[in-house]
């Protein structure tokens, strides 16, 4: 009985935080709630492994992170999302001699204000959606989930060289998309 109350306390005290954490990584309400459920269940089953050398929340988050990465790995395997290395946008951005064809213009906007601007967030979301799926997965894990490159390589089944290529292509496309639709635009 006291055990049950403990599990409830975990949910009450950390549930919302874990949910926000998951949601910021997977962008899907239902999936995020499922991840929290799986993480709490796993934590509960493995509670003897919690040594108390980190806070309970940190420990729960680390379990949740594993669950999320695991889910993404399975999803990518199951749906056979290809490497997308054939999706090479560089010929669009550079001439054969390696010069810019779509000229970047310096953005002077304040990043924090962009983040708070809902209209900007919509444009950003749209630009992210346009990326080939594997590029987007890798990019989001790196820039939004702040995962280290080793973890991403394992989750997405890519070598570190592939990861750098995918990140580069994602940045090129996003940079151009945001410039066109937000930062600079109409004049092009």
């Amino acid at each position: 009985m006291t055990e049950a109350m403990n599990a409830d306390a975990w949910l009450n005290e950390h549930g919302d935080y874990l949910y926000r954490f998951a949601l910021s990584k997977v962008h899907d309400d239902e999936l995020a709630a499922d991840m929290v459920q799986e993480a709490l269940l796993a934590a509960w089953r493995g509670k003897s492994r919690f040594k108390g050398d980190s806070t309970l929340r940190t420990w729960l988050v680390s379990i949740l992170k594993h669950k999320i990465i695991d889910h993404i790995r399975k999803d990518i395997r199951q749906r056979k999302i290809s490497d997308a290395l054939e999706n090479d946008p560089s010929s669009h951005f550079f001439s054969e001699s390696g010069e810019w064809q779509t000229n970047p213009r310096t953005w002077h906007d304040n990043p924090e204000q962009c983040c708070d601007d809902l209209k900007f967030r919509l444009v950003l979301k749209e630009c992210l959606t346009r990326l080939p799926e594997k590029q987007r997965r890798v990019f989001e894990l790196r820039e939004l989930a702040d995962e280290d490159t080793d973890t991403i390589c394992k989750a997405c089944d890519v070598t570190s060289t592939n990861l750098h290529v995918l990140m580069y292509r994602a940045r090129l496309s996003l940079q151009a998309c945001l410039q066109k639709h937000w930062f600079g635009g109409a004049s092009t």
Binding site: G98, C114, Q179
Partner: protein, 86 residues
């Protein structure tokens, strides 16, 4: 060998994900000092990187909550797990 903007922009991107070699850093530095387009690009992907880190923090510290229905479901599942054990 002098590298083109395509190669340099790749290195500028890599610098966010790995440590560049000494030689690569020099190449990037020299190229950026002469090429305003690559300077703009480097500035812009830096702005993008900062935007994403703000988004990350605002998402994690926001006020979104688990729905009551999800909470209830999770409670139920945790309870079953506890009951199984006893």
């Amino acid at each position: 060998m002098k590298k083109g903007c395509d190669k340099i922009s790749h290195l500028v991107s890599d610098a966010f994900d790995r440590k560049l070699s000494w030689l690569e850093r020099i190449e990037v530095k020299i190229h950026l000092s002469m090429c305003s387009l690559c300077r703009s690009y480097a500035n812009n992907i830096g702005v993008m990187h900062d935007i994403f880190s703000y988004i990350r923090h605002s998402d994690e510290s926001g006020s979104t909550r688990l729905s009551q229905a999800s909470k209830h479901k999770i409670k139920q599942i945790l309870k079953e797990e506890c009951d199984d054990k006893s």
